[in-house]
Each structure stands twice: as structure tokens, then as C-alpha cells.
């Protein structure tokens, strides 16, 4: 399969970024991870990935970023046809009530992870979000069964009418 599905992490603090990347290790083989330090970089990375015929399946985004904040970035991405399909998770300790509500209403936020997270918790969220992403966006779900939620994928496949021609 040529088309790759990326995980994009937007986070300005280096240690936090390293920790996220390390905790996502088990997905790396199937879903390459890209990193961006701020909103501008995130846009560039997304453009680059899409230009090369790949997809962004999941965006893990910090709220407090230099320049444009995470919630605003996610709302903006929601306006782009391709980026709107990406699953969006806010990973933050500091987004206030209002920002979070805004993100849910306007950026179609899929999940909120409060810092500090545990590895298991992060893996669980990423697994669930990527599973939903591939079910909604990919025709052939079988290759994902070895890494994502096999039960859910299998149910989705059995409900699609599969034919023999």
C-alpha cells in the first residue's frame, strides 16, 4: 500500500514531544509519526503529507503554543476538506473550559487528554481514534487488523456488503 496514514503531534515543549513520540512507538511501524512545534509548522507538515498523496489520520495537539493556540489551529484545520477528516485530540493541561468547549463545537474535537497522561491511556485513545478514522476513510480494513481494534474493524467489514467480482 502506497498511501500512508500519519499521526501528527503539535507540541512546543521538547520533553513532552519526546515523551509522546516514545509512547506512540507501537504505532510507528504502521502510522508514521510527524512532529511540529507550532501552528505554522503543523500546516506545512500537513501540506507536505497531503502533497505526497498521504493522509493525516490523527492530530494530537497541545493547546498552549507559541503564536496561534492549539484550539484555534484545530478549528482552522476543520475548514480544510482533507484535514477535516483527521481525528483530533487535544493533549493539554491548560486549556480552560471555554477553549475546550470551543474545540468540541467548532473543531469537532474527538478526545481530550489531560496532562499528565499514562502510556496505556494514550495508546487506548490513539487506537480508538485511528480505528474510527480507517473505518470512515479506508475501503480495505484488513491490513489494519494486526494493529488496531480488530473487533471493531471486523464488525465494520462484515456489515459492508462484500461481493465476488
Amino acid at each position: 500500500m502506497d498511501e500512508k496514514i500519519y499521526i501528527l503531534i503539535v507540541e512546543d515543549e521538547l520533553e513532552v514531544m519526546d515523551a509522546l513520540i516514545k509512547d506512540l512507538e507501537k504505532f510507528e511501524e504502521f502510522f508514521p509519526v510527524e512532529a511540529a512545534n507550532n501552528a505554522d509548522e503543523a500546516r506545512d507538515v500537513i501540506d507536505y503529507i497531503l502533497d505526497h498523496g498521504h493522509k493525516v489520520g490523527l492530530i494530537l495537539c497541545d493547546h498552549v503554543l507559541p503564536g496561534q493556540n492549539g484550539v484555534d489551529l484545530l478549528i482552522e484545520l476543520q475548514q480544510l476538506p482533507e484535514a477535516a477528516k483527521s481525528r483530533k485530540v487535544l493533549v493539554t493541561g491548560q486549556a480552560g473550559h471555554e477553549d475546550t468547549i470551543l474545540a468540541i463545537n467548532k473543531a469537532d474535537l474527538d478526545h481530550y487528554i489531560a496532562k499528565p497522561w499514562t502510556k496505556e491511556q494514550l495508546e487506548e485513545v490513539v487506537l480508538a481514534e485511528l480505528t474510527d478514522y480507517v473505518i470512515a476513510n479506508k475501503k480495505n480494513l484488513l491490513p489494519f487488523m494486526q494493529i488496531l481494534d480488530a473487533e471493531k474493524l471486523s464488525a465494520a467489514m462484515r456489515n459492508n456488503q462484500m461481493t465476488d467480482h
Binding site: L142, Q146, N159, Q161, M162, D164, H165
Partner: protein
């Protein structure tokens, strides 16, 4: 539309093929035969190169025939000495051909089975007696897969069964050949199992549809009586071949098949309808109600109860019905315009013995359908076989049913490449096997299948048919 270079080239080749018979006069072929040849050319090229989906080509075939070959079309409004044009309703009527309705019934049953997890739960129950020895687990998986795919689509069965074996594969050591054996056993068993019943796979529909237009009726059980013994032999041989090529290193497999049969009212109703329909199908000789008529029972019963709701009706694989209908339509015009007979009589068949013809048709069907869709291969070959038999060119002892069976069964025995059948493609997409592993095992099964088809066609089928 974003046509690629390859698509464009294929379309141009198809159009050129379509135009040639308009400009080149072929001696001995009627004017209508030329038109039928045009349609045959564009259909064959589009089906083989697939610039458009194969069901779309079938729709095009029906359109072209209605326009150019029907009594209501532009070219042949009058009966002539050479050609008595079919009414356009004969071409579009293939969409309601009995075999299409039988398939519809099969689709509806399969859909209800999936909705209520009947397939999954049957798998669980049926696998239990096979224990934990890898050899017998593989056999069990193959038997269950073949059984399910005889009543559901091979593709859907494979997808479901892959979800059973992938967790096992994940727990097996990377170098264990068991992984390859497991991943190959499912698609192969599905391809083979589809042969067993009329509703098992579309090539069967092509064969039965073509025979129906010749006035030959094949009952559900009659097909099973002809096909199932072959299925069992080829299935067992495939099991042996897979074990021989990929001997499992693990001594034990744990199957985790949790779950239980749903027991709500709707589910029980579905089990009942499923049971009644299958029983009526296999007892046709007792009550005489044709299998296509029986097929309407699940369609109506499940719609009336809302189990098959609007959304699920929309999701039925209608394109398969169009695909087969287009093929049957093409067969009708190839026959009535004399095209098929012209193609056949250009070869002096009486030079060949009937055993040679059986091997030749089987081989051609296997080779073709390794590269093309099984349905398309059967569709292209059947009209030729029909006129070979009806024109009497092949001499005595050459039966129409026999050669049609040879083609239909052989088309399903092609499984060398990932592109050969959708089940193969599914197995490949899991990343557990390499193409050459599939090719090696698929080749062995193909050769064995070819020999079996020949033996059955010589000794067993004539016994049943007479």
C-alpha cells in the same frame, strides 16, 4: 472523472475494437452478427482491461444491444432472412432472469446472517470438533469456510474468517509456516466452496443462466449433486497441499471463539427463514417449486418484518446482478445473430476428441480467470460452449451441460495470483503471505483441479446427467 493514461488507452482500444466489424466485412457472418461482434469486442476488451468497473461494462452491453440489436432499436426494426431481432425486453429482462432472483435471495439471506452474527456463531460451533492440533484446525477452518461460502459470497466469508485467524497468526512465532498455511487456507477454501451451490459464486449463475436460456433447468440439488463431490475432493487435496508445502511448527493452537447465538425474536425468525429456505432449496425434487421461486421467500419475509430495511436493501450488491445480467444478455445476442456459431464453425472441431475439448475448455477457463474476474471468464466462454454444443460441430457425446459445468467450475479453480479472486486479494492484504507462496500452492491446486474436472466430466457427471 480523473482518467489515467492506462484507462484512456484501454477505452480507445475498446472503441477501436467496437468499430472494426463496422468497416471490415466478414464472410459468412450476418449483418446483425457484425453488430454483435462489435458489442462482443468492446465488452471483452473493457472486461479484460477494466477501464471502467466490470458491472458498468455489463450495463453498456445491455444499452448497446437494446439500441442496435433489438426490434425496437435503430438498425433492425424488421425481421429479415438472416436475423429475427429480439425484443428489447429480452435483453433487459435478463435482470429478472430466474438465476438473478436466486442470487438476490442468496444476498438477502447472507445479509440477514451477518446482521445476526449467524455466520460467526456457526463458525464457532462448527470449529469445536476439530480440537487444537494445527493440522486439524486448518482442516476445520477450510471446511467451515467452504460451507459458509457455498451460501454467502466468497469475499464476505473470507473477510469474516480472516478475523478469526488473524489473532492466531499474531500469536504464532514469525518463522512458523503455520502462518502461511492459515492465511492461504481461508481464501482457497472460500474459492472452492463457492462452487458447491448455485448461489455460491457468480460463475455458477453465468452457467445456470446460460442453460436456462437454452431451456435447460438445473435444480438446486442437481447442481449440488454435480458440484459438491468435486468440491470435497479438491478441498481435501488443497488441505494436503497446504500442509505439505507449509508444515506447521507449532504443536497446538488456541482458538478464542467467544460469543453465543442471539436469542431475540428477530434473530430466531431469521434462523427459521434461513433454515426453511435452504431446506426448500435442497428438497426441490420433492415439492417441485423452483429454487428461484423459493428465493423470493426470504426476500419478502425479511422485508415484511423490517429486518431487511430500506437501508439494507440499498446496500445489497446490486452491481453483481447487473454484471451477470449483462453477461446473459450478451450470450443471447451472440446466439441469435449467429455470431457464436460463426466463431465456433471457423474451427474444425470434429478433429478433436471430446476429452481434448474438456481439457481445452477447462484449461482456458483456469488460465483466463487467474488474470480476469471469474465471472467475466465464464461469461466470455459460455456462449461459445453453448453454440459448440447446439451447432453439433463438436460431434456426439459432447453435452451442453457438461461443457458449461467444466467452464463454470474451472473458472472458480483459478487462485494463483492475488488478483485472481477477491478472497485472494484479501488474504494478501493482511501482509502474512507473499505472492510466490500463493502462486506455488494455487498452481498445484489448479493442476489438481484441472485433472479432477476432466475425470468428473468423463465419468461422474454423465452418470448424473443421464
Amino acid at each position: 472523472m480523473n482518467a489515467t493514461y492506462k484507462q484512456l488507452t484501454s477505452i480507445i482500444i475498446g472503441l477501436v475494437g467496437f468499430l472494426i466489424p463496422f468497416f471490415i466485412e466478414i464472410p459468412g457472418l450476418s449483418e446483425a452478427g457484425h453488430v454483435a461482434l462489435s458489442i462482443f469486442c468492446i465488452a471483452a476488451i473493457f472486461w479484460m482491461l477494466e477501464p471502467v468497473p466490470i458491472y458498468a461494462t455489463s450495463m453498456l452491453v445491455i444499452l448497446l444491444q437494446v439500441f442496435f440489436l433489438s426490434k425496437q432499436g435503430v438498425l433492425f426494426p424488421e425481421v429479415s432472412a438472416e436475423y429475427t431481432p429480439n425484443s428489447y425486453t429480452e435483453f433487459i429482462g435478463t435482470l429478472a432472469n430466474p438465476i438473478i432472483i436466486l442470487f438476490l435471495g442468496g444476498f438477502v439471506l447472507a445479509d440477514a446472517a451477518v446482521k445476526f452474527d449467524l455466520d460467526k456463531n456457526l463458525t464457532r460451533v462448527l470449529l469445536k470438533p476439530f480440537g487444537a492440533n494445527p493440522k486439524f484446525i486448518i482442516l476445520g477452518l477450510m471446511v467451515v469456510t467452504a460451507l459458509l461460502s457455498a451460501f454467502m459470497s466468497n469475499t464476505a466469508t473470507t473477510a469474516m474468517m480472516m478475523t478469526v485467524i488473524l489473532p492466531i497468526i499474531a500469536r504464532t512465532k514469525p518463522g512458523d509456516p503455520l502462518r502461511i498455511g492459515l492465511a492461504l487456507s481461508i481464501p482457497f477454501a472460500a474459492n472452492i466452496g463457492g462452487i458447491a451451490t448455485p448461489i455460491g459464486t457468480p460463475p455458477n449463475a453465468v452457467v445456470i443462466g446460460a442453460l436456462t436460456t437454452q431451456g435447460i433447468h438445473i435444480a438446486f440439488t442437481e447442481w449440488m449433486l454435480l458440484a459438491a463431490p468435486l468440491v470435497i475432493v479438491v478441498l481435501m487435496a488443497s488441505w494436503v497441499i497446504i500442509l505439505w508445502m507449509y508444515k506447521p511448527a507449532s504443536k497446538i493452537i488456541e482458538l478464542d471463539m467467544s460469543g453465543s447465538f442471539q436469542k431475540n425474536k428477530e434473530a430466531i425468525f431469521v434462523y427459521l427463514i434461513f433454515g426453511i429456505t435452504v431446506v426448500l432449496w435442497i428438497t426441490e425434487s420433492l415439492h417441485g417449486v423452483g429454487s428461484s421461486i423459493v428465493a423470493l421467500l426470504p426476500v419478502a419475509a425479511l422485508s415484511l418484518t423490517g429486518i431487511l430495511d430500506q437501508e439494507r436493501i440499498r446496500k445489497l450488491p446490486w452491481e453483481v446482478l447487473w454484471l451477470v445480467a449483462g453477461g446473459i444478455s450478451l450470450g443471447i445476442s451472440m446466439e441469435s445473430t449467429g455470431l457464436a456459431e460463426w466463431i465456433i464453425t471457423s474451427i474444425s472441431w470434429n478433429m478433436f476428441t471430446s476429452i481434448f475439448l474438456i481439457i481445452a475448455f477447462s484449461l482456458v477457463a483456469i488460465v483466463m480467470s487467474n488474470f480476469l474476474s471469474n465471472t467475466v471468464s465464464a461469461t466470455l466462454l459460455i456462449p461459445l460452449a453453448v453454440s459448440l454444443a447446439t451447432s453439433g460441430a463438436a460431434g456426439e457425446g459432447f453435452s451442453l451441460v457438461l461443457i458449461s459445468l467444466v467452464i463454470g467450475v474451472s473458472a472458480s479453480l483459478a487462485m494463483m495470483l492475488p488478483i485472481s479472486t477477491p478472497p485472494n486479494a484479501i488474504a494478501m492484504s493482511t501482509g502474512t503471505i507473499k505472492t510466490n507462496q500463493m502462486t506455488k500452492a494455487g498452481f498445484a491446486i489448479g493442476i489438481f483441479g484441472l485433472m479432477m474436472v476432466t475425470l468428473y466430466a468423463l465419468f461422474y457427471w454423465p452418470l448424473i446427467l443421464n
